[in-house]
């Protein structure tokens, strides 16, 4: 078991049974810190400790206090119920945004594939030289990637927000507070770097191929307003 797992299980087992949870966890945090500094692994340290649940019962036997007063709890639950419609509306609108981003990612993906392969199943794509269509297709695929990443990130954000709200809500109801959760998704440094690289590459590809596609078509049509020349919107 790792240090984090051990401390979280201990915290959970002590919840509502003691009034100085943070002090107790700090003491065991210190214990880990010292043992780790002496060269023990986290597994070794936890193996030498009693199980969190047994330790918790030892603390609770000694001057534990009963869980929060019922009236307090009822009040907190009532407040949370009043708040919940607002929270639900907020979460639902965020979810709509995530869904919208996901649909646009799919749409751009389909458009990109059609442009690049020359397929046009619903005859919606106007005629254009293949070089231009290839470049615009590439731009569309890059845009699809951006929208996909946007969907992914906003989905993670929504999930994290929801979890953080739940933690906050349960801290209102239960006696011993657990630390609040951060609002933004907790990605590792490596993931964040990869995400940033992917976004930058996609932006660069999209910008380049859109401008190049536009230029190619302007040259082929002999006019910057090539859509007039080819009667696209006539």
């Amino acid at each position: 078991m790792t240090k984090a797992e051990y401390l979280s299980r201990l915290g959970k087992a002590l919840e509502g049974r003691v009034d100085d949870l943070d002090d107790i966890l700090a003491e065991y945090g210190e214990h880990f810190a010292r043992k780790l500094a002496d060269g023990y692994s986290e597994d070794e340290v936890t193996a030498r400790l009693e199980s969190p649940e047994i330790l918790a019962s030892q603390f609770a036997d000694e001057g534990g206090k009963p869980p929060t007063q019922r009236s307090h709890r009822v009040l907190a639950i009532l407040g949370l119920c009043l708040l919940s419609p607002l929270v639900l509306v907020f979460v639902a609108s965020l979810a709509v945004f995530v869904a919208f981003a996901g649909c646009s990612a799919l749409a751009f993906l389909a458009l990109g594939i059609c442009l690049m392969t020359g397929l046009d199943p619903s005859s919606l794509i106007p005629a254009m030289p293949y070089a231009g269509s290839l470049l615009l297709g590439l731009a569309s695929l890059a845009l699809a990637l951006l929208a996909g990443l946007g969907t992914l990130y906003s989905g993670l954000f929504l999930g994290q927000l929801w979890k953080a709200y739940f933690r906050w809500a349960r801290n209102r109801v239960f006696a011993s507070a657990r630390p609040p959760l951060p609002l933004n998704p907790q990605l590792g440094a490596a993931t964040r770097r990869k995400l940033r690289t992917a976004i930058l590459v996609a932006l660069a590809v999209m910008g380049f191929s859109f401008v190049a596609g536009f230029a190619v078509m302007a040259v082929k049509a002999g006019s910057p307003g090539f859509w007039h020349v080819w009667h696209w919107f006539a």
Partner: protein
């Protein structure tokens, strides 16, 4: 060894240790778990109980280049309880020892 039994004795050991001078939690725990056969971490509930009973007090002390540590210190009530419990234990232990060695009391 039986846990409840050991716990009573450990309280006495903690008091004895802190009667010699202040120590921080890990120090007490480490010392005792090296001397007595107990799991690591058993000492912290005992320290907390003794503090709740008013036999110990705590204070934070800054260490060079680290977060402040919680030191435990024996109170007057703790010292009185320690002296009483020590006498009780020593006389109890010597009686038991006598019985175990087969020495007949008059």
């Amino acid at each position: 060894m039986n846990v409840q039994y050991k716990k009573g004795v450990l309280e006495l050991c903690v008091l004895a240790l802190l009667d010699e001078g202040d120590r921080y939690g890990y120090d007490v725990s480490d010392y005792l778990s090296k001397q007595v056969d107990i799991s690591d971490g058993t000492v912290y509930p005992i320290l907390r109980k003794l503090k709740k009973d008013g036999l110990l007090s705590t204070y934070l002390s800054e260490e060079s280049g680290g977060p402040p540590r919680k030191y435990y210190s024996i109170t007057e009530a703790g010292r009185a309880e320690f002296l009483r419990a020590r006498e009780e234990w020593l006389s109890f232990a010597s009686t038991i020892e006598g019985i175990l060695r087969g020495e007949k009391q008059a």
